[in-house]
Symmetry: C2
Subunit: 148 residues, 2 copies
Amino acid sequence: MKVSNKQISEKLQRKGLRITPQRIAVLEVIYNTKDHPSADKIIGLIRKTHPNIATGTIYKVLDTLVDQNLIRKVNTDKNLMRYDSIKEKHHHLFSLEADTIEDYYDKELDKMLAKYFRKRKIPNFKIKDIELQIYGKFKSKNSNKKKC
Amino acid sequence: MKVSNKQISEKLQRKGLRITPQRIAVLEVIYNTKDHPSADKIIGLIRKTHPNIATGTIYKVLDTLVDQNLIRKVNTDKNLMRYDSIKEKHHHLFSLEADTIEDYYDKELDKMLAKYFRKRKIPNFKIKDIELQIYGKFKSKNSNKKKC
DNA sequence: CTCACTGCAAAGGTTTTGCAGTGGG
DNA sequence: CCCACTGCAAAACCTTTGCAGTGAG
């Protein structure tokens, strides 16, 4: 399921953005990293193969990509942003123990919520989107963390 | 529905925390402010009546209160935290236009979600809590913002 | 060739920290 | 009284910005 550089270039092109190694590197990391990385983590990963991409540049790239709807910022309870590729509508599973965030897809749930809010209107508020933050514990291979 | 200083003092005492003017001031603001204030806003409001409470102190107080489960941090997509008093389970309505965050209570929704996830298990994940972030537009008196 | 983009370094804004001093219990 | 808590100021941290220089189209 790895996203290729070719696909990435096309995405950039479709948005009318210049195709630069910096942008490809950032998108490559975000598209191919499971856990929603922070800017810092993205920088770390990119530096391994492109040691001289500047911090400021990466932030600028991230900004541009968010503007162009190629990626999205994810809220966390630390004060630092995490980034997420934009895919199908999905929700987030937050680990209460580690800093893990995983995606959760559930069309049936979305349908149920849509149906629910079609009946139950919120006064003075027009819903555009609903995102669930599901907090809990990962039980398996994915995050067998040691206890603190 | 104003929360009195007496009630606040009791909450602090029950947690074994010392009752100080600084802590009372912070809790007073958080309990009696509708919109979930940022640290900065809390500081501003407190300074009106207590001009010499230090910034660092307020951060320390906020930290302590979060640790003791008297208040909670709320995620925003700016990089700054907002604070919320801990009340009944509730969700958040985020304005797509302004920086408004409002609480949304809906027991029926909670029941529906609980029922849903009793049937539909998420593999390798044990749910502890679900919080909805509902994005949309406020239509009324509360936030009749001008267009950008 | 041109201008959108990058690198660099400095600045900005929020939060944290260290430490001496104070006041709550 | 004593130690948890505060005030203050410096530092830490993440992110943004300005500007000269570069390379994508």
